[in-house]
Amino acid sequence: MTATRRLTDTFVLVLITLAVWQVLHRIAGSTALPAPLPTMSYLMRNVTTARFASNAATTALSFFFALLLAYGIGLGFGIWMGAHRLSGAVGEPILVAFYSLPKIVLYPVVLLIFGLGISGKVAFGALHGFLPVALLTMGAIRAIPPVYLRSARTLRLTPWQTITTVLLPAALPEVFTGLRIGFSVTLLGVLLGEMFASKAGLGAMIMTDMSLAQSEDMVTVAILLFVFAALANAVLLWIEHRLHRRV
């Protein structure tokens, strides 16, 4: 009974959202905010256009490399600061402070250093993404119960065995949370980068649409990005729950 109730509730919510959208469309006008139904049909057509495909590919490429960097740097920092007490104690507040800053103000610096091409977006995305990965990895390692390490020693494991068979599995759930959050944050960083002084990528495409008053295109691209991010997050969350269930 609760399952069907939940479903109907969600359905009602979706209907309400669409109704509000329709009302806003009436108020704002077609050029500003297209109506829901035309937008849906446009969405189907848009996805197959060459313009969309090439911009999506650009964003995907930047995102992929930014994510690799963010994960690599984040894990590196996280493991070091988690294992080395003093570095962790000194560095954590610095990272936390950096996390809450409006990093957009550093984008011009990133552009000056890395140039206007793909490297700028990759660097900016990684700048956003490495922080949650580092902070959560550090937390995960610190949270490993000391008795695990003592057990590893009484079982006479080699350092390598201790790391791979005890420390890694013990830290994995929380590290994965960092990777999941890093995923969304890196995507945001890349898109932000594309919205400023860029000619390629979905972020740039939205800005162009805005200046050309192509609101249908704008809204559909935004929706597609939302759906992508939401789905990816759902998948990662599912994996995360499987990892956490055994802890």
Binding site: V90, V109, I113, G203
Partner: protein
């Protein structure tokens, strides 16, 4: 300050010092990054001249407005949702996914609707910050111990007195976390919006300075925003930590 605190100061000073040296020695191109001392000097000159005051007022004013609105609306919405568990449950997946999605990408759509004015900036700012406050409010209200309600009935307190004297203080530490997050999201969203596209404001100034190759002005402005944001966030964080004791119930 503790030993770790001094070490941290030393690390930060060392990093800034290294940057200074690298810039002055020519290791870093003057076209790319200017020495921190020059940044500070340029900022001082700008502030002293008063030419920045209008933009400072505008940007900080908008941030303050966004924060105030987010906290107020978020708090009220949180209370309302807490009283309507079925609606809350239906919205749960929405809240869970909200910050995984690049909400900011909607900013250009808002500009298309409202034109290039303060409205889109305020709206995107509130949209970004309000959900954090809603979640924190729900969290805080969840964690009000059930026994407090019974205590209130034993003392025959009315609903308003119960809310104000018992539930609010019990939920306060969690509410404060929401405030802290709203502030930091408010800064991030408003400045990003000004930077990407805005008629005026410090974010717009930085974008203009970048386009004009005016590094001194650009770095001075960047420094200013970084300092303001860091100081405000740090102060709130310190306050939040003092609440953390209460959140854990005094347990270490």
């Amino acid at each position: 300050m503790t030993r770790v605190g001094w070490l941290r100061v030393a690390v930060i000073v060392a990093l800034i010092g290294a940057l200074e040296l690298a810039c002055r020695s020519g290791l870093i191109n003057h076209q790319t990054v200017i020495p921190p001392s020059e940044m500070a000097g340029a900022l001082w000159a700008l502030l002293a001249s008063g030419s920045l005051n209008a933009d400072i007022e505008r940007t900080l004013g908008m941030i303050a407005l966004v924060i105030a609105l987010s906290i107020l609306l978020g708090f009220i919405a949180g209370i309302a949702l807490h009283a309507l568990p079925r609606v809350r449950q239906a919205l749960e997946p929405f809240f869970a996914t909200y910050y995984a999605v690049p909400i900011f990408i909607f900013y250009p759509v808002l500009i298309a609707i409202f034109g290039l004015s303060v409205m889109p900036i305020v709206l995107i700012g509130v949209a970004t910050a309000v959900v954090a406050m809603i979640i924190a409010t729900l969290n805080g209200l969840d964690r009000v111990p059930g026994v407090l309600g019974k205590v209130a009935r034993v003392h025959r307190l009315g609903p308003i007195r119960t809310a104000v004297t018992l539930q609010l203080p019990a939920a306060a530490p969690y509410l404060f976390t929401g405030v802290k997050l709203s502030v930091s999201y408010g800064f991030i969203a408003v400045i990003a919006a000004e930077f990407i596209l805005s008629p005026a404001g410090l974010g717009r100034d930085i974008a203009d300075a970048y386009a004009d190759f005016n590094n001194r002005r650009m770095y001075a402005l960047i420094l200013f925003l970084l300092i303001v944001a860091t100081v405000v966030n740090a102060a709130l964080h310190a306050l939040d930590m003092s609440f953390a004791e209460r959140r854990r119930g005094g347990r270490p």
